[in-house]
Symmetry: C2
Subunit: 123 residues, 2 copies
DNA sequence: CTGTATCCCTAGGGATACTG
DNA sequence: CAGTATCCCTAGGGATACAG
């Protein structure tokens, strides 16, 4: 018997809602995508400096997973000292407007949200 | 000296990118928003059944935080047995299209992403 | 410069039992 | 029905040191 709600369930791990959240819901992925989207190609240390409070480890991990998913390309220049440039792929670019829409929404609503939160705490 | 990158930094906790991720980046918030958005007002146990694999604790926690942020309203009917209905607020509704855009993006790209991921693993 | 390799620690979240 | 209240446990992620 089919369940009419199955589209919300993680059957076969195919729920699109969750697949996107597992990818972008971590601490840094969206931020890296936004920075690369707005600033264009960047080097590892440039990203590190721009984001500021990300650890080297997490920047590496985040870039690797974005690269694995084909959202970011990694280009190594065999120089000394080494240079590595990261760029958003077309797939990554296609995600950008949606992420930016979300951040714009946040900008518009953050004050109201904070106000709601305080009222809720007080009650 | 002003830093031209400060818009990406969490100065005063005001980075809009992060404020949205901290809110929606948890395991269940977006899913609850989508379900309430598509199905309309629902009772606690209805949500619990529809989502299926969320624990009672996490559903409570998630709904509370969404309520605190003014994304969801909680209406209690003083009956026995008790009935509680959850509905998306206007603010919650305004977020819905962006969340749905993200899930549509995921639907379109998930196959390609999975393919990229396998190629990456193999290399 | 661009990363690995460890160690470590907290907080998110699951399971279970209990309550009005 | 609609939640609390605990306990517990893992995985995300920070700090630090080292390497090509």
């Amino acid at each position: 018997m089919k369940d009419k709600w199955e589209k919300y369930l993680p059957i076969d791990g195919n729920c699109p809602v969750r697949s996107v959240l597992d990818r972008l819901g971590d601490k840094w992925s969206m931020l890296v995508i936004i920075v690369l989207g707005e600033e264009g190609t960047m080097r590892f240390n440039q990203l590190h400096h721009v984001i500021g409070d990300i650890s080297q480890k997490m920047l590496t991990v985040t870039l690797k997973s974005l690269e694995a998913d084909g959202l970011v390309t990694r280009k190594v220049f065999p120089e000394i000292p080494p240079r590595v440039e990261y760029t958003l792929t077309d797939r990554g670019m296609s995600l950008l407007p949606h992420v930016e829409a979300l951040t714009k929404w946040a900008l518009v609503h953050i004050d109201g949200i904070r106000a709601s939160r305080e009222k809720y705490m007080a009650s």
